[in-house]
Amino acid sequence: MLDSEKLILRIEELSISYQSSGSGFWGNNKEIVAVNEVSLSVGRGETFAIVGESGSGKTSIAMSILGFVKPAAGTIEFNDLNLFSLDSKQLRETRRLIQPVFQDANSALNPRMTVETILGDGIAISDENEKREKTISLLKSVGLSPDFLKKYPHQLSGGQKQRLCIARALAPEPELIILDEPVSAQDLSIQAHILRLLSEIKKTKNITYLLISHDLNVVRILADRVAVMRSGIIVEESSCEKFFSDPTHPYSQELLENSGLIQRA
């Protein structure tokens, strides 16, 4: 078990449900339970992966940590602060410490802003020169040259866009980055670059990753611990080595088989 003092994120009995209109014209609103009493803890500095198929509820958990989805029940504690009992000012300050990187970089960048403005918005420095220096150093830290400052997102390639998204996530110096399928939309060669970048960043900065992915290859490369979700429930949680060498839950075994990572017994 993890030492509770070293925890950065503690989720307890989190339930999330959505209203869905029924199939008929006047159909009753059905309640769909996306996440059902999930508890998990993430230690400071580790990479924690939530794996599962689409519809398993893994993205709903990420969205509720980021504050975009209100849970039906349960608590989320970040640095021992209950995110749901903060006033709006505290919430905004705390939020800056939790940054997202989304799957589709295209929709994650404001098409009407230059690279400089996109990054500048995340930097809490008012002095223009210092801000510019910080912006350039952010670009460099994700392997982009300062030539990109005046460019617009549509002038960037897919891989460059995702690098920019990572730079933006780093701008407010966060403690936790939520990686929601960070490479699934990319070619393998770009995936390789991004994965290397993510692991380098983690080595130089004391950052915790919460990785949301259906791709077990990516999970195996990045993660320290793994939780497997299915229909809103965590069915298995273990260290990465144990999960890939000796999965206990039949569903985990099925996932690994389908990904070609273990042979069918």
Binding site: L66, G67, F68, R92, E93, R95, R96, I98, Q99, P100, F102, D104, S107, A108, L109, N110, P111, R112, M113, D121, G122, H154, C165, R168, A169, A171, P172
Partner: protein, 282 residues
């Protein structure tokens, strides 16, 4: 400025965009340069030349008081297009503000604002216009304000719809996660991305406004002498439509051409500013 040039060159590529640009530019030029471009003083009466048909010295003929119709039309462009632009501008400001607030804040604000929009859309617009303009002494400013105040609802609807879509984009989520204030996000992340559809609806609205103002003035409720809009000029042809046909025909032509101009420009802007076509080209 570079963006503006790019926009013009994109518009120029389609025939309708080109015609729209030329017509709108022509009318704007006439309105702005009226004192330089009009061959005669538009209010100077010449009783000897009363109701003379088109000739070389008076291309569009003269009216019942012997005033040169071409000159009156050129000065009328100031009034008609001025009212069209002014009222559309007011409608865009009101409509964008309401649409942005409703779509971005959602919840109760949205419900209340959109019910007000529904209610106002249910009002017979032209009847209220007649009432308000008929009660006061209708100056150019009053006419433009009333027109604008009664025409922002469609824009509010369009803007709200777009804002709701943009609000769900990941870049808005990312900005929220950076701790930016809702006002900052609404004005810098959401509004610029709906500006394309605002510009399109505004351009189309200018044409409609010119037409409504012309109808008002034709009925005698619009701008009053000595100011004259195209509708006022057209009104004069009403007295003897067959004997002085050139009065109504030339005023009508001005109205129709400006309408075609603004509508073609609006339609082409829609094609050019649509982000989907923008993406297809890049």
């Amino acid at each position: 400025m570079n963006n503006f040039k790019k926009l013009i060159s994109k518009l120029w590529k389609s025939t309708s965009g080109r015609i729209g640009l030329i017509l709108v530019a022509l009318f704007l030029l006439l309105a702005l340069g009226a004192p330089l471009l009009s061959p005669y003083d538009p209010v100077k009466q010449n009783l000897i030349l009363r109701s003379s048909p088109p000739s070389f010295s008076h291309l569009f003929g003269t009216d019942l008081f012997g005033r040169d119709i071409l000159s009156r039309l050129i000065y009328g462009a100031r009034v008609s297009i001025g009212i069209g632009l002014g009222s559309a501008f007011l409608a865009v400001i009101l409509g964008s503000a309401v649409g942005l607030a409703a779509g971005f804040l959602r919840g109760r604000t949205d419900t209340v604002l959109m019910r007000i929009v529904d209610l106002l859309l249910g009002f017979p617009k032209f009847f209220i216009l007649l009432l308000v303009v008929g009660l006061g002494s209708p100056s150019i400013w009053l006419t433009a304000s009333v027109l604008g105040a009664l025409s922002w609802m469609e824009i509010a609807r369009v803007v709200r719809g777009e804002v709701i879509l943009i609000r769900e984009m990941n870049y808005v989520k990312a900005a929220t996660a950076l701790g930016l204030s809702p006002m900052n996000i609404a004005l810098r992340y959401v509004l610029p991305n709906v500006s394309g559809s605002i510009i399109v609806s505004a351009t189309l609205l200018i044409g409609t406004m010119i037409l409504i103002e012309a109808s008002l003035s034709y009925l005698g409720f619009g701008v009053q002498p000595p100011d004259a809009s195209w509708g006022t000029i057209m009104n004069q042809g009403r007295i003897d439509p067959l004997g002085t046909w050139w009065i109504s025909v030339s005023a009508g032509l001005a109205i129709i051409l400006s309408l075609i101009g603004f509508n073609l420009l609006g339609d082409s802007l829609r094609d050019v500013l649509d982000p989907r076509t923008e993406n297809a080209q890049s």
